[in-house]
Symmetry: C2
Subunit: 414 residues, 2 copies
């Protein structure tokens, strides 16, 4: 148990050094890390081979084995992701709103790292390099606690990163891997509020609930994405069909895929006829409200509870609404706070929707699939928050920082 | 128990209405609330009289009775504080960084209310009006859970505010007072994470620890203020004396008062001689390190643990340091993250301090007593955060809001 505490304390100490690095120093460090990852390809593949063998023995699902698998090409793209993070602008040290007060003191805010971030994740070895690079670029130390399935891969990646850090004079405790994915140790980690500033869990709802329920440290929460598309009576039906199919079928297993279609009753006859044909072609299973059911040859009846379902597959809930207000009320009741889309050509309706819906990402005439750090222009994403505190929506480098006040006087007193 | 849940749900529903109000609507509401408070002076004084009688019977300390007491003048100043909040700029609806992505979608951020804020406080009836006004101005509903000692005063103030809200068509659940300060009900309140977005405890360390330890809702933490003044070897000694005396003696019982003086050894002989005379005159009790002890006629020896003490009275810890770096290391070890001050005329040293120290407020040549929402220009303060998540330092209206992403497209898909 003392080991976890010691790891956290060393990370806190390493964070003090990182917070003082210049952007140039940090970029040089990240580029060295990328080069080292490529140089250590054989060692990393050897670690990964152990995980793959154990995974096959445990008969992990094919999708999981694929997430776990590293290849020379995948290591190359890991390294390139680290290079891309080096190229992002550094938020640390930015000063804003510097202004004098009546007594002559100057007051402003300066952006600073959070300190130590703990990442809790499952069987994705790439997170080790990604999260390490994002945290270092924003001046934070990171403690990585991945799943048992990817442990050897993660340790090999971390060992490679440590080599690069040592050549740059950086305390390797700035990227620490918890070497034992035991739950008791995770619980111990979640108690270290004196040294860890933020916990970011990435994975299934079970993991996130476990972390939230047991953490004494603030947690970024992202439970699920029940994303809505509301097709307004003033919608352009071609655009609406494009948004619907892209949102539901382009990659149904991710959190920014659509789960619910709301249609205004005035255009329901036309639009649901189109949707029905398209769903049949794409083999999308439909759960429809009473008013929508007649438009589908094959659909199950959706009761109210159905609208709280995140399918993560080719299935969708469909509801016909009598008005814009009914659509908004439905979203407010069933939203998971992730992403909601309106399709309308009416400017007033679009503006009302942008103002009234307070999910993390609110869109007009654009696909919910754009709700992603890369697509929204953050450069890289360390997670997505569906709770409003600290960060809301896709989280980039700025979300790993905070602001302190700075005051410059000339001896003023109160 | 169901009552607490019902109060929270009603507050959440009221918050949806508040989030849509224009700044003009909110200002009109606050001005009506101020007028109503003055009109209800007699009713509020009657409620307060009950609390005062009970407080005297319970033999509350004089300082506590004074905090509890309302007078016609104090009610007038409560009303004026609400008017001052009406005059502050509204952060809600502000849009920033709206910019096109390569595919033509426009992406930006819009500031929105958090939703429902729970204030947990002790025997200060003025918080009922202050916090109510700050939360409403920022579009949030608020649940107020004050101490038993001020309950009748709080209920009378809330009843007055509700009258004004009703004339403006605002759901009175937007300001809810928990009518029973039972701890079991507080525990129940701290579980309502589905309807409450943020908990702000204001009071002693015991209350804040209790709230943090039991809350399933994010909590703004402010334990204590161990504020440091470091007098550098390049300090202007007159300015340093002014900052020291103002910081320690102007109002020693508050969290932005100084608790520790660090002095560079090169100027310790001169400066500590001045400080010693001044402390004697002002009757400040001194706890000094071995190197500092000889300068004081009457001082106790300070061991390392002494430097973690928040005195909140006319007492101070004093340490002589061999270098700037030793001062920074001492602060990093003992700081509570509140406010630290350097006194120096050396620009490079000042810049290093501003960068290296990551407390919520970092000052050069200015009194720690300026570390306050009003003095820093926030207009009003709902609390102060010494944890880095969401808000750090004095919290104004902006701290009661968050940002969502908004996306405007023309049918783009991925």
């Amino acid at each position: 148990m003392t080991t976890i505490k010691a790891i956290c304390k060393q990370a806190k100490s390493a964070a003090l050094q990182l917070a003082q690095l210049s952007e140039a120093d940090k970029n040089q460090l990240l580029l060295a890390m990328a080069t080292q990852l490529e140089a250590d390809t054989a060692l990393i593949l050897a670690g990964n081979a152990k995980d793959m063998a154990a995974g096959r023995e445990k008969q992990l699902a094919d999708a999981m084995l694929d997430r776990l698998l590293l290849t020379e090409e995948r290591i190359k793209s890991l390294a390139n992701a680290v290079r891309a993070i080096a190229a992002l602008p550094d938020p640390v040290g930015q000063i804003r709103q510097m202004a004098p007060r009546p007594n002559g003191i100057q007051v402003g805010k300066m952006r600073i790292p959070l300190g130590v971030i703990a990442m809790i994740y499952e069987a994705r070895p790439n997170v080790t390099a990604d999260a390490g690079a994002l945290c270092l670029k924003s001046g934070n130390a990171v403690i990585l606690r991945g799943g048992r399935e990817a442990l050897n891969s993660s340790l090999a990646i971390a060992a490679s990163l440590h080599k690069a850090m040592e050549t740059q004079g950086i305390n390797p405790a700035a990227i620490s891997v918890i070497p034992d994915p035991d739950r008791a140790l995770l619980l111990e980690l979640l108690q270290q509020k004196d040294s860890v500033d933020l916990v970011i869990p990435r994975g299934g709802e079970g993991l996130i609930h476990f972390v939230s329920d047991h953490s004494k440290i603030p947690v970024i929460q992202h439970y699920k994405g029940i994303c809505h598309l509301y097709v307004d009576k003033a919608a352009d039906l071609d655009k609406a069909m494009a948004l619907l199919l892209n949102g539901k079928t382009q990659r149904p297993g991710v959190c920014n895929a659509l789960e619910t279609l709301l249609v205004h009753q005035d255009i329901a006859p036309q639009f649901l006829a189109l949707a029905s044909a398209a769903f049949e072609e794409k083999q999308v299973e439909v759960f429809a409200c009473d008013l929508s059911l007649p438009y589908f040859a094959q659909a199950s009846k959706a009761d109210e509870a159905q609208f709280d379902t995140e399918y993560l597959r080719l299935a969708i809930s469909v509801k016909t609404v009598a008005s814009y207000d009914e659509a908004v009320a439905h979203i407010q009741r069933h939203s998971s706070g992730h992403t909601e889309v309106i399709c309308t050509q009416d400017l007033s309706t679009a503006q009302r929707f942008l103002k009234q819906i307070n999910s993390a990402v609110v869109m007009v005439n654009a696909s919910s699939r754009f709700s992603d750090g890369g697509e929204l222009g953050l450069g890289a994403e360390i997670g997505i928050s569906t709770s409003k505190l600290h960060a809301y929506g896709p989280m980039g480098l700025e979300s790993l920082t905070t602001e302190k006040y700075i005051v410059i006087g000339d001896g003023q007193t109160r």
